[in-house]
């Protein structure tokens, strides 16, 4: 043992030297400021503006804008679209996740890639393909005109385009979760004599319920808010084929700013509710883990 070169003052408090995983204070604070400014500029500001603009002419202007028959028709069509597309894509999502995660078969990863396909297609193209199928010049155009069935520039076209756009949402949430979960619990249920349905309701569903709700929530938000694809197939007929987002666009282009923002604020409220539910779901599933 060498002689100690310095006197030791054992009571002296240790000064804060830099720990390995800590950033210096100035770095930390600058990054926090940069990040929060960025979020404020690009997220908080738009959020605040929607709310502000909708009420800028007073509550009454807001209510009268909302009470217009065209607006109400747009809300109805939006709800109809969601009511049809969300359950269909939910059933699909569960079925696809079950087939992909519980069985081995050839072409499995290819199938998974195909399910994601609508995510990488521009919304406008998603609309266009249905025009190519069912429009006047489309594959079934003549047949549809003969039988007097309207798909394009009518509600069915809007629903089909939305179905395409929101196709992957539920499946995408479920596949990774069910993959990770494995099927031991399900095998246990089967070995205890449960039927297939019984096993699904009492073992699988309780395990995936939060992810399922999460997927449904995102699917619904997109179904109600889709603009590009719907805009291509709708034809913008007021009171008939305008969904709420299209109604907002029409009002905005006609310089009816209060009307546009009244509609926009409903959609923004939808987004905020979606965010709150989504956060709640995240906390819930974290707490159960």
């Amino acid at each position: 043992m060498n002689a100690t070169a310095q006197p030791i003052n054992p009571g002296k408090l240790v000064e804060r030297h830099q720990l390995a995983v800590q950033d210096p204070d100035w770095v930390r604070w600058s990054l926090i400021v940069i990040a929060l400014s960025f979020i404020s500029l690009f997220i908080c500001l738009p959020l605040g503006l929607v709310i502000f603009k909708a009420f800028s002419k007073g509550l009454e202007a807001y209510w009268s804008a909302l009470a217009q028959p065209d607006t109400l028709a747009a809300i109805r069509l939006t709800l109809l679209t969601a009511v049809v597309t969300v359950p269909l894509n939910t059933v699909f999502g569960v079925a696809a996740a079950w087939a992909i995660t519980r069985f081995d078969f050839k072409g499995k990863s290819f199938l998974t890639t195909l399910i994601d396909l609508p995510f990488s297609v521009s919304p406008v193209i998603s609309g266009l393909i249905f025009v190519l199928l069912f429009g006047a010049e489309g594959w079934f155009g003549d047949w549809l005109i003969e039988h007097d069935i309207k798909i394009i520039f009518a509600a069915p076209g809007i629903i089909l385009a939305t179905l395409f756009i929101t196709f992957p949402f539920v499946a995408r949430q479920l596949i990774p979760l069910m993959q990770e979960m494995g099927n031991q619990e399900e095998e246990a249920a089967l070995s205890l004599g449960a039927s297939g349905w019984k096993m699904f309701w009492s073992v699988t569903l309780p395990n995936i319920k939060w992810a399922l709700l999460y997927g449904v929530l995102l699917c619904n938000a997109r179904a109600m808010g889709e603009f590009g694809a719907v805009s291509v197939v709708s034809g913008h007929i007021r009171g008939l084929t305008n969904t709420l987002p299209l109604h907002v666009e029409v009002n905005y282009n006609e310089y009816n700013i209060v009307g546009a923002f009244a509609g926009a604020s409903i959609l923004a409220a939808l987004a905020i509710v979606t965010l709150i539910l989504k956060t709640a779901l995240e906390w819930k599933s974290e707490a159960e883990r």
């Binding site: 043992m1 070169a5 030791i8 054992p10 009571g11 002296k12 408090l13 240790v14 720990l19 390995a20």
Partner: protein
Amino acid sequence: MSILLSNISKKFGAFSALDNINLEIPEGELVALLGPSGCGKTTLLRIIAGLERADQGRILISGQDRTEHDVSKRGIGFVFQHYALFRHMTVFENVAFGLRVKPRRDRPSNEVIAKKVHALLELVQLDWLHDRYPDQLSGGQRQRIALARALAVEPSVLLLDEPFGALDASVRKDLRQWLRNLHHDLNVTSIFVTHDQEEAMEVASQVVVLNHGKIEQQGAPSEIYDHPSNAFVSGFIGQTNVFNLEHQDTDWLQTAGLSTLQQQGKIVHVRPHDIVIEKSALDSDAFVTLKDWQHLGALIRIELVKNSVNGQPASVYAEMPNEQFKRLHLNKGDKVDLKIRHAHWFH
């Protein structure tokens, strides 16, 4: 280099992880910080490294106060429990890392680095793996690479956190011996943390026993084993039989030939190999029954039941070489006589 810890204390909230630790480690020793989980041993190691801040106290490395040095300037080498190898670098680059991050004027040339890295990889006998990635290595190989990486910067002190904790039993045995030899060759002052007393005794030249944030005893393995300073150390190091004079073991111990009445303490610890048994000549007087035995390789562990008149029937363990046990021709249920050769007394 020697290490001197003076009055080190550390609290996590209300929990006192380390309470006024004073410790001197002479140069060139291979020291084990031994204790049950939660005793503060890893915290102490991380404080020495500078990965954690002590609330108070000083850390001196070869007489120099290093308490306020960042971990990067403390001149220590740290081997992490789960190795913490850089996943995106080859084995070679992992070992070279410490040399490549030196300030430009101290940084060796690429040729010097290559030479040194290969020399270190040869030292840990893994030069043939130099272009692999950590994910492609076994646990034992990763451990040795982590050690080579820490040695590359020529640390004055080598710190190892549970170095064998994550390894298979067979690999662990080999690596213990290997580390001991390596330390013998390099003679770097080294401290490793372990909760395994057998490992500490086998590898270390000095053992520091910690419990509840305090040092219970420091010394050479043999010293700690032969002269435990308190009941905790005695119970923690090796197997032991515990008797309590307050629990009416007095008569029984006297029968076993231990002169109990010197009032050296109230608690008696007896190592299994300090108990001698013989087949009882007089069946009726026998106060111990042989219940069962297990083979531990060269030794036999014998489970006895003491059936004293006023004491509770309880198990007592004895150990003896295989051959000796065979010569006794004992069977389960036999009554035996028992002699205690040596005991430790604690208050």
